[in-house]
């Protein structure tokens, strides 16, 4: 196997800066994603965690060229993704959205929603084939055939998310960006949907970029996890490795915030509570973005931004001190 085809998705130094108007004349840049690099193997799940506003969703959307990236490159199957080939690559890369209520067109029936990707890419010869394909996918995500002619508003949140997943699966993609697909659902429904994601992966061999802020869910579904803070990835490791021996101080505090089901253990554990607020992404601290809230911060942290370095076993951490 050549070096190029080892990874399905390769992201290198991806940057997404949004122009923000300040006052009447001045404008500044909001660095939503600031130099993110990661790779995803075929059939693998990479979890992406971080608090609200740290740029997780923007990474997913920029990756799929829903936003024009400021700089950096994305390779899919070794092929550089550009404006020219993105239309054909959309068959390979799909997205499941966070909000199952606003991501489905209220004017369309379930059949039309799932059939839309087929229409756009002309993936059927006649109406019967289109219908058969749609019914197959619906069965795959656990929807009944009689649901096909209903409208999205007639379904519950979990069912709507299944419709969204079916739409993403319709073109038989190799890679799906799941943008917080369960955070709008009830906990009991979350489990169903998460298990469905795993089943689908086992059946279809599709790779996920699974964006979430719930570490427990991410740990459950992911092979590897990347932790983001203010537009940068601070740590990437295998899911179990990250859970058992986190290195970056931000990951440590995130993990300590995860609720523990056993009250005896929970009493013994110590929460690491971060001081201060997340700095505004309009006015980022110099050097390491986390240094303003880090108890290990030194002068070096303010002067220079740490890069991701391998600490063995592919456990990459961006920190000077740990």
């Amino acid at each position: 196997m050549s070096e190029e085809s080892k990874y399905l998705v390769e992201v290198k130094d991806l940057k997404q800066h949004f122009k923000v108007q300040q006052g009447f004349f001045g404008s500044t840049y909001l660095k939503a994603v600031d130099g993110v690099s990661f790779n995803i193997k075929p059939g693998e799940t990479l979890g992406l965690v971080g608090e609200s506003g740290c740029g997780k969703t923007t990474v997913g959307r920029t990756l799929l060229r829903l936003y024009q990236p400021t700089s950096g490159e994305v390779r899919f199957n070794g092929e550089l993704v550009t404006d020219k080939n993105i239309t054909s690559l959309r068959k390979e890369m799909q997205m499941v959205f966070q909000d199952p209520y606003s991501s489905l067109d209220p004017r369309m029936t379930v059949e039309d929603i799932i059939g839309e990707p087929l229409d756009v890419h002309h993936l059927y010869a006649n109406k019967k084939e289109r219908r058969d394909k749609i019914l197959d996918i619906m069965q795959l995500v656990g929807l009944n055939a009689e649901h096909a002619t209903r409208y999205a508003h007639e379904f519950s949140g979990g069912q709507r998310q299944r419709i969204g997943i079916a739409r993403a699966l319709a073109v038989n993609p190799k890679f799906i960006v799941c943008d917080e697909p369960v955070s709008a659902l009830d906990v009991s429904i979350q489990a169903q949907v998460i298990n469905m994601f795993e089943d689908l992966q086992a059946k279809l061999g599709v790779a996920y970029l699974f964006i979430a802020h719930d570490l427990l869910i991410v740990h459950h579904i992911s092979d590897r996890i990347a932790v983001m803070y203010l537009g940068k990835i601070v740590e990437i490791a295998d899911a179990d490795e990250l859970n058992d021996s986190p290195i970056h101080p931000y990951t440590l505090s995130l993990l300590s915030a995860v609720p523990i089901p056993d009250p005896n253990k929970a009493r013994e554990s110590k929460r690491i509570i971060l001081e201060g607020d997340v700095p505004s992404p309009l006015n980022m601290p110099s050097g390491c973005p986390f240094r303003t809230r880090c108890k290990y911060a030194t002068e070096k942290c303010a002067a220079e931004c740490p890069t991701l370095t391998d600490r063995g076993n592919g456990h990459m951490v961006a920190c000077w001190n740990k």
């Binding site: 959307r61 799929l64 829903l66 993105i86 239309t87 959309r90 068959k91 799909q94 997205m95 959205f97 966070q98 909000d99 606003s102 991501s103 489905l104 067109d105 209220p106 004017r107 369309m108 029936t109 839309e116 990707p117 756009v120 890419h121 009944n144 009689e146 002619t149 209903r150 409208y151 508003h153 969204g164 739409r167 073109v171």
Partner: protein, 352 residues
């Protein structure tokens, strides 16, 4: 299988008290409301709205009247009544179902005369057929002007709202400029120009309506679409922020597909309402232009010009004003109520 209780106060359920659902019972739970297409469903709901159904009936009756009545009423809208080939100058300003002295003579001699259902006007013309023709002209003007407004306004608004940014800015400033032009002045100027330059006598429908109507349509096409364009743009600006538009983009849909399949269907209720309101507004515009002498060319009547000429003789013959005014009210009210009904019926979010 009996399960032993852990303790006396346990809330543990006794499985023996439950029985499995039969297949039929399971099927009963599956049956849900029958599914239909978007259009069928909307029409079904529309038909349950008594006001909307009433408006549809009124509009159908009006349309039937203006198409069927001229075929069996023996008078024409410009014909001065004559009896036995003799011009009847006594048939001036007759009351409804009244006959002139000449006609009474003729009937007494055994002849048959079709009654003047709404009487006659001051030029001895049958008023009923003039009201029918006036309704025809007014409806035609209203519908045609609304279609012009609809097509231009929706296209312009959709492009402006979807493109956004600088294109939107420029397109909306053009709309602002057009908004500030005095429409009446433009109509007057255009009609003066057209009266001198255009020869419409050869063209079938437009020719009998006159050059004033051409300038009216032109003004609707030039100026009146801006309201529709603004409405559509505002609606599209909010719709395109929805995630399903982003989802369509992530599927690989082109902008044309997104506008056609997602954005326009979602602002259709706004467009329907605006169009339904545009028709009566166009009828009103035609009426006040007729009032100013800028309406349809004589002797072609319109509801506006009929009402205007009746106004002068209001003290002597008030009914002459009542007939065209009632027609205007009926048509305008029916379109408004129908527009409301359509909006309620075709908005799935309001559906029970």
């Amino acid at each position: 299988m009996e399960m032993p209780k852990k303790n006396l106060l346990s809330a543990q359920l006794d499985l023996k008290k439950f029985e499995k659902a039969t297949d039929e019972e399971k099927r009963q739970a599956d049956v849900m409301s029958e599914s239909t297409t978007f259009f069928k469903d909307g029409m079904r709901k529309l038909m349950k709205n008594p006001l909307a159904v009433g408006s549809i009936i009124v509009l159908i009756l009006v349309v039937l009247m203006i198409t069927v009545v001229p075929a069996f009423v023996p008078y024409s809208y410009e014909e001065i009544i004559s009896v036995n080939g003799v011009r009847d100058s006594s048939a001036k300003n007759l009351a409804p179902f009244e006959y002139s002295t000449l006609e009474q003579q003729y009937i007494a001699e055994g002849g048959k005369i079709f009654p003047h259902i709404m009487g006659t006007d001051e030029l001895c013309r049958d008023y009923f057929i003039r009201v029918v023709y006036g309704t025809r002209v007014s409806l035609f003007v209203g519908l045609f002007a609304s279609i012009v407004v609809l097509v231009i306004g929706v296209l312009y608004g959709a492009v402006s709202g979807y493109a956004g940014g600088k294109i939107d800015l420029i397109m909306m400033r053009i709309v602002d400029i057009i908004y500030s032009l005095p429409d009446l002045l433009v109509i007057i100027l255009l009609s003066v120009v057209f009266r001198e330059t255009l020869d419409l006598s050869g063209i079938p429908v437009i020719g009998s309506l006159g050059s004033n109507m051409v300038s009216l349509f032109l003004v609707f096409g030039l100026l009146y679409w801006v309201g529709m364009a603004r409405l559509v743009r505002a609606e599209i600006l909010s719709i395109k922020e929805n995630e399903y538009v982003l989802a369509a983009k992530s599927i690989g849909a082109k902008p044309g597909h997104i506008i056609k399949k997602h954005i326009l269907p979602n602002c259709i209720s706004v467009i329907i309402i605006a169009t339904a309101l545009q028709i009566p507004s166009a009828i009103f515009t035609e009426s006040y232009l007729s009032f100013l002498g800028l309406g349809v060319a004589l002797p072609m009547p319109s509801l506006g010009s009929l009402a205007n000429s009746a106004r002068q003789a209001m003290s002597s013959n008030a009914l002459k004003l009542v007939f065209p005014a009632t027609m205007i009210c009926l048509i305008v009210l029916a379109f408004n109520l129908l527009g409301d009904g359509l909006r309620d019926a075709f908005d799935p979010k309001l559906r029970k």
